[in-house]
Amino acid sequence: MYDFKILTEAVLHGDVQKAVAETEGALEKGLDIQEILNKGFIAAMDQVGQKYSRGQIFVPEMLRSARAMKECMRLIRPLFEKGDFISKGMVVIGTVKQDVHDIGKNLVAMMLEGGGFTVTDLGVEVAPEKFVHKVREVKADIVAMSALLSTTMAAMRETIVALQEAGIRDQVKVMIGGAPVTEQFALDIKADSYAPDAGSAVIVARKLLGIS
């Protein structure tokens, strides 16, 4: 049985070199990609998320861990595309209009990708029409919106209305998050779900699509 401790520790400490070397090693040993993702990266980033929530680490440490995972994902992504990997669903993600905070959104995107979803990241300052357009184009299963400013949370509601007006609201699940966002707000704007961090975003996304 492969010991993922070195990999998870490397990601946890943002040690890019070690994380990449471990990933290469695991791939050479022929380990299953999803196992590397789940037991290596997702497990590590879950711990990072928990430490952040508890105030044990702050944003730079989180960024360093994310960078380590990102570099490893570069090695793994081509194998996704080879075809022996079935996507769990199509996600369109972005930070809403008038908001350029993107660290949390990037983490969620990366974790969803690591969790087996195909992710289209629209970046920051994404207008409702742009979300609608992309959802249609890629036939998204989930649209994921991030907002970090209380002034921009309203754009989440606007996007949901835009999806309704475009007649595609019932074809796509809406998931929202970001520091000022709450479960209650998600209910108020009739989003399908809310997740407080990137780790639970993967669980919630799976639930939304009925995947165990």
Binding site: D99, V100, D102, T151
Partner: protein, 200 residues
């Protein structure tokens, strides 16, 4: 003329330290002699949960007495208004200090003009190292670039009693690799919203 609910009842104004110079300038205690202002450190903003706990403690202290308490804060952690309702205190309307210093219309216009605007004001300029540079590790080029990639300019919101902070604002803007613009705050919005709340 306004009717005061009880002009002898003490009013505690619990404010973020970012408003220290604004409140010194507005001198609201002159027209409202029962007003007592207390500031909490502005760097609590980096950790909203800690801000919530500190504010909660500060508010619990005032609730024991027969005093009215007013909060001068933006929506600096989730459900700030519900939090105030829960503690039985009033909150000045506004999302964050930059919006409150500029006035909501001016802030909206600035954001419409260029969303990628990063704001500086006196407190942040004077304590940039402690409030931003160190906790966010901005001295690391890669991290700084990751943080400020979507930004296009810095706006220094200059307040009436500010010392000459333009050279420091310029230096910070250079450090962030962004051009600097200056906008003067006149406190008209802040004063109005505060007075409206105090004079219930």
């Amino acid at each position: 003329m306004r009717v005061y609910s009880d002009i002898t009842r003490p009013i505690n104004l619990i404010a973020c330290g970012v408003f220290r110079s604004a409140l010194a300038y507005l001198k609201l205690e002159k027209s409202h002699p029962t007003l007592r202002v207390r500031f909490l450190p502005s760097n609590l903003h980096l950790q909203p949960q800690e801000l919530r706990n500190t504010l909660s403690k500060a508010l619990n202290g005032t609730l024991m007495k027969n005093e009215r308490t007013v909060c001068l804060y933006g929506s600096c952690f989730p459900d700030f208004s519900d939090f105030c309702d829960h503690h039985g205190v009033d909150k000045v309307p506004g999302h964050h200090c930059f919006q409150m210093l500029l006035g909501s219309k001016r802030y909206d216009n600035i954001m419409k003009e260029m969303v990628g605007t990063y704001f500086l004001e006196r407190d942040l300029i004077l304590h940039f190292d402690k409030y931003c540079l160190e906790p966010l590790a901005l001295q690391e080029d890669e991290i700084r670039r990751a943080f400020f990639k979507p930004y296009r300019r810095v706006i220094y919101i200059r307040q009436p009693a500010d010392p000459d902070l333009v050279p420091q604002a310029e230096e910070l803007a250079r450090f962030l690799g962004l051009p600097l613009k200056i906008r003067d705050a006149n406190y008209s919005y802040l004063k109005q919203t505060l007075v409206n709340l105090i004079e219930v």
